[in-house]
Symmetry: D2
Subunit: 343 residues, 4 copies
């Protein structure tokens, strides 16, 4: 049994970690922290866990986390980098679901996150936790940076094209639509039901923090420089990301369906749908699956890739547990064989 | 392993049965039928099951179902009564998720359902599948009539009051709010997103078919005649029933919280919340739980019971599997220990 | 032209007042205040008003409001009572959309609102602005207390029964379902899309502040004491209240349809639907209409009244403008002949 | 007063025409037809119109329409082309809200709509009703083809770039998100609330009928050949289209904001927002406005245009009335000065 701690358990990735970890056969959650809810029972915040979890939130501290084998950080950006060094020095392994260790270049981090990094010496040894790219490194990692939600969908969608140099890497477009849970469980006007329902809008068009993360990931597998226009949108639903990806093919005669099916043949959590498919975000709601479809409209030179994930599962908590399974030598799908809730 | 057949697998209770039965450790689904989708793969209708289920729909027939230990009818009202006799004679057990065997009085059935009953001789030996009332009879039943969604919530909410004669049984009011999935997966104008979202309405106020079912169930446990005003409402959500129940207390000094906690102390799927609680339907989304709270506003003589269920789980497919577990001597919670999807 | 000021224009009743007052042919909005948004243009908060309104928010003060003929308070409870005296002394008329002047008994006010009243001397001369009851008094009022949203729907639904003594006034039940905009435009966790969508719950069952307001209004027209159980619910939509009202008839043979049609025959904003109807909240979305239907299920002695309004219009801003029209001798429907937005 | 007939009044564009035409000061609706609802009152289908409209649906026929000055076709594709010739020969003017007369090339029409055209001789003399391009021709037209919803948003967004040759016309991408009302008021599985809510998906990626319409419109103003990748998406809301448009700039140094502001300076229904804006679809809900914002992310050579409309208003009924106003010499904004319903 892996002794697990969760730092910052009051947000949506926190409660999603609990939903998935509580029934996990190899996990024992020993501590869950929340600065604002110390002493409060988890079930008073999340009644869906009544009868399943009798933990109470405690003050986050190195002492209480010291007995863990693994600590998940489900806290806001900036939390993990303040506690990571002390935990890592004790030999505790870490999966950070926030952004603190996703970018290897500290200057890029400063530019996009606007605060000094408190633990820069770990930036290069942290492993970027996208199993479909980094499985071997994740197995041996002490510190895993769990990918962002948009970066998971966009990278899984573009990877086969860039790995094989099939498209112009400087003309990538990622038009992504996200549910509102991506904004977190924070009392902000823009996330109110009355503000966000029955409406769609783009946001952060001038620049979103997930752009450098995506570029870094795609650049690693591309021989030529990668440039991308990334436009995230808010759509009126709770869970789900739909990434619609556009690229210009170098050779339109290539069998793209075969490229994708081959690339992801061994992947338990990537589902390449039959030709002509249109994946729905609800087909992965609550599941750790990325579902892909590949189109070449009117037989032109533009490829359109459709990628859907549940931002809280494959885009956050589920992928974190997938990483945990890899790190601890467990079957990668353990505790993650969930059928999406439909309808 | 129980060999299971599903008749009418293309509706919402059908896909919900699949979601719950596919991972069930003691179940082997051998046949799933649909008159309209013969030969079609289940996953082409329900892509959430891709990689989990390789069944195809077949024509419903006694022959193909003959090899089953248990047949679930997830078809419209009127289907099970046409096939039940032949299956029962072969010793096959049946759980009907529709209404064909819920009412014991064939005259009442005619009045509310408007068609002749094709299998009236089984009406009295069918067991009404509300485990919290009929557990022993269910264990030995060959034919179980799975309760309706509203009747499950309303009966679980009222039972302790009527069993103990604590309220005036002729002044019951059940004001129930349902998600749209209760209307089924049928192409009807009123269930369109553009018709049903962003709106609330009552319907069937002159009389809803679940009323006689509720009255029959409550009458069984009440010494005095039961009368009820039942008003169902359509609310703009997919899953969930919220029943708000009103009754006049005979003795307002009684400790109602204790009455409910005692009555449901041994029940795995009924959760009596702490005093002052307001259960949300989302706290049971996807789970087989009925969550209850009891109030006596301003200390008056009116008791208000709040009961929530997921209409597709405890109100349909989950309760059916709970009944199956009981019928086949399995642990009652097997395959049903699901944590609700929140948010 | 009426010179109008709006205090607290950043909430949902504020923007709704603007939507209705900007095109009103007899209104000139001269000032709109917001303590938090001083200097900000109205359209930067509410882009639906771009090109229609070039006001900027100013600091609320007696000086800036002194030039108005009428001031609407669309601010939180407790705001109007602090400024009313000074404005009233200048002869300015006031319509308060909050609760400060709705209850005539200062002790009741203290008990339910928990803060001392700053302007108690006006409590009895303020006119309760439900035109269907108080039209004549409203015409001459200097200070109008605009009714709450629930109280508007519940009173309009119950009034004919209580005015004529047709039901037992001590056994009233009001089960009300509201959209989330009733909670206001405030950054609170419970109003987030991810918390409030796809779920229904009751709240404030032990006691809601609209209960004493409803009781006061119904008591005025009832010869016998009135008691009510009031259970409000949150449903996942933006606008709309559906009140389902239950009462015990003294004489079940009475023609209730005729009673309601006669009572509201001259009312432009109350629509008694044909027998057997089920009004939908969306049928009044954006409109100043209360739509009613009357049922007597199974011919019993329980009457069920269904009443729907848009909580932001007939339940707030629209009713306030209806009151303004009456106060200033304008046609009562001026600027309010809106057709609901459907779908 | 213009005597107006509406053919096919039971769909969403039909009820929207009624919402806008009933209060229009220069319109008298004399006939509304529906083959399926002959004799039924309009208000029994659309209770939002109770008290505002006492029409009943009649059988569609040349005789009953012969007394009209103008006939709106709000019927499915294929209806107008069957009745147009007879009406036009009587001198009656027509605005077709469906697709029958949008494409000038009959071969293209056959290819995309799959049925023979019954009135091909009118294809070239019909005027495409996008006032921002064709105002003068519309004024004199006898037959106006009202644009599709996607084509309205996409063309208004791209027009300034193509008219001035600022982008590569062969690399256009239009990623469009639509509410479900675009699918019409038809009982189809895919439009059920339980199928369409809480999910996003692309559809018709291989080819959507609005693509040739958009290309035809853009080609008219472009000197060089136009090619486009068009991907429509279904998002879980009732009304609204959000088009996110991508193009490669020839000269990235151009002041795009000025280009757009100049182009649309005189247009009452096109609102170019300030730099950095992100228009929300809800900001135009119920209004006849197209709201635009122009971005050049990270100062690159890719321009991103965000365009929002209400698909039922500027994308259908509102634009049709705008065309009517132009055709009959009325102020273009008459009856259309609506403030969007927000929230």
């Amino acid at each position: 049994m892996i002794k697990v701690g969760i730092v910052g358990g009051t947000g949506y990735t926190g409660v999603e970690l609990l939903r998935l970890l509580v029934p996990h056969p190899e996990v024992n959650i020993t501590v869950i922290t929340s600065r604002s809810e110390v002493g409060v029972s988890v079930t008073s915040l999340f009644p869906n866990l009544r009868g399943k979890c009798d933990l109470r939130f405690t003050e986050p501290s190195i002492e209480t986390l010291a007995g863990c084998d693994l600590v998940f950080f489900a806290a806001p950006n900036g939390t993990a980098m303040g506690m990571a060094r002390a935990l890592l020095e004790k030999g505790i392994r870490i999966i950070d679901l926030a952004a603190d260790f996703r970018l290897t270049d500290v200057e890029v981090w400063h530019r996009w996150y606007g605060i000094p990094h408190l633990c820069p010496e770990w930036l290069t040894s942290a492993v970027y936790g996208l199993p479909e790219v980094n499985r071997a490194a994740i197995a041996n990692a002490q510190l895993v940076a769990n990918p962002g939600c948009y970066p998971t969908a966009v990278q899984l969608g573009f990877l086969p094209l860039l790995e094989q140099g099939l498209v112009d890497p400087e003309r990538l477009i990622a038009d992504a639509k996200s549910g509102v849970s991506g904004a977190g469980r924070k009392a902000e006007l823009g996330s109110l039901l009355c503000e966000a329902t029955e409406s769609t809008k783009a946001y952060a068009v001038p620049g979103h923090r997930h752009l450098p993360e995506i570029l870094q990931g795609l650049q690693r597998v591309s021989k030529a420089p990668v440039r991308m226009t990334f436009v995230p949108h808010l759509t009126p639903m709770v869970r789900g990301i739909h990434a619609t990806l556009y690229a210009v093919l170098r050779d339109p005669s290539i069998d793209l369906q075969a490229v994708y099916e081959t690339r992801y043949a061994g992947e338990a959590f990537v589902d390449v749908m039959p030709p002509g498919s249109h994946p729905e975000t609800r087909s992965v709601r609550g599941a750790n699956t990325c579902r892909l479809a590949i189109h070449r409209p009117q037989g032109g030179d533009t490829v359109v890739v459709l990628a859907v994930i549940d931002n809280l599962v494959k885009g956050a908590a589920g992928q974190a547990i997938q990483n945990m399974n890899i790190m601890f030598g467990l079957p990668e799908t353990l505790g993650l064989e969930i059928i999406a809730l439909l309808p």
